[in-house]
Amino acid sequence: MKGNEAIAEAAIRAGCDGYFGYPITPQSEIMEYLMAEKPHERTGMVVLQAESEVASINMLYGGAGCGKKVMTSSSSPGMSLMQEGISYCAGAELPCLLVNVVRGGPGLGTIQPSQADYFQSVKGGGHGDYKLIVLAPASVQEMYDFVPLGFELAFKYRNPALILSDGAIGQMMEKVWLDEQVPRLTNEEVREKYPWATLGKQPGKEKSVVTSLYLESVVMEKINIKLQAKYRECEANEVRYEAIQCEDADYIFVAFGSSSRICQKSIQLGRDKGLKIGLLRPITLWPFPSKVLHDLAGQVKGMLSIEMNAGQMVEDIRLAVEGKCKVEHFGRQGGIIPSPDEVLHAMEEKIIGGK
């Protein structure tokens, strides 16, 4: 299955109520697969091609306001268009799932894989103090698994969740284990589970209001404090990462998504040469596994951040490490994927040799 197709199938099986999107390479297969699978016949899920990315994110706002499981997907330029709507969703505390299959930028860029949307994804992206829960899959299986997980986290924290994939994983074909079909929630179940959902006022119950507009600054500050408290709770509970051969490592790679797949090969090559190299792969990019990196910094001599961009995650690593060890960056940009040899060479040159 292609990574994009895995996301589409996962959405149907996770009991998603609606997909609204606009085609863009390299994620067009998500909608193509959904259209071909006819989920409106399988589960009653709505699939709609909106007139633009801006329209699709606002459809999400409406769907999520009703407590429905809704999702959209796009690639870099499309995500930029959606930022306003995403900020509104975060402001109104609406859970929804976004998928970004990143391509090279800036501007229209290329259609080849890149990881240059890291900042946009983990720092908020739109206006105002908000964060997205960001999951970074490194395999087609994870593309599948992170859809139900993304919905779970989004509804748990009432915040948009983002799957930050890239063109390589989206287009890659791998074997995938599929889960059983989860039934969609009925309106009664939604009312019971999510009392904030706006599904029509019930007699004897308070009116639910979905809004991100608070004209009084005192009220707005209270909302902001509430949001921040929610984000701190999320940071405390939801950090996910994978540590590969870090126990005895002298040097470690820090990489997410498809870069981490390249690093796994580089570790093998390095270990064959007698270099003790490990890999730390953040699975949640926000909340970032800062504490783990901080602890690791005490035991290793240096860290090299491998990203398909000009150095974005490296800043978060430096913040986490607080100068306890050397942190450098290596990356290729514009849709070029670094080779395992190149990555190992960079490690030897920048971290091991560069003292």
């Binding site: 292609k2 390479t25 390299p26 067009s28 259609i111 287009q171 890659m172 074909m173």
Partner: protein, 75 residues
């Protein structure tokens, strides 16, 4: 003696230009086109008729877009 001659047909709209087929062809038949398909990828295309019908390209293609045809040519 009967000789086998091959020919490939590529479904260009489903090709993503990953170039996996190019190094596996013993006769260097395949190259990426200068043009792009509907999704914007440069697609694979045959550039000469040295194809022997070995099917290496069709076996490695992750998207199964290459069909190989073989004909026996008697001289």
């Amino acid at each position: 003696m009967a000789k086998v001659k091959g020919s490939i047909v590529i479904d260009i709209e489903h090709c993503k230009g990953c170039e996996v087929c190019i190094p596996v062809c013993p006769e260097s038949v395949i190259a990426l086109a200068k043009q792009v398909n509907g999704k914007g990828y440069r697609y694979a295309q045959p550039i000469n008729d040295n194809c022997t019908g070995c099917t290496n390209c069709a076996v490695v293609c992750p998207d199964g877009v290459i069909s190989v045809y073989r004909v026996k040519v008697t001289e």
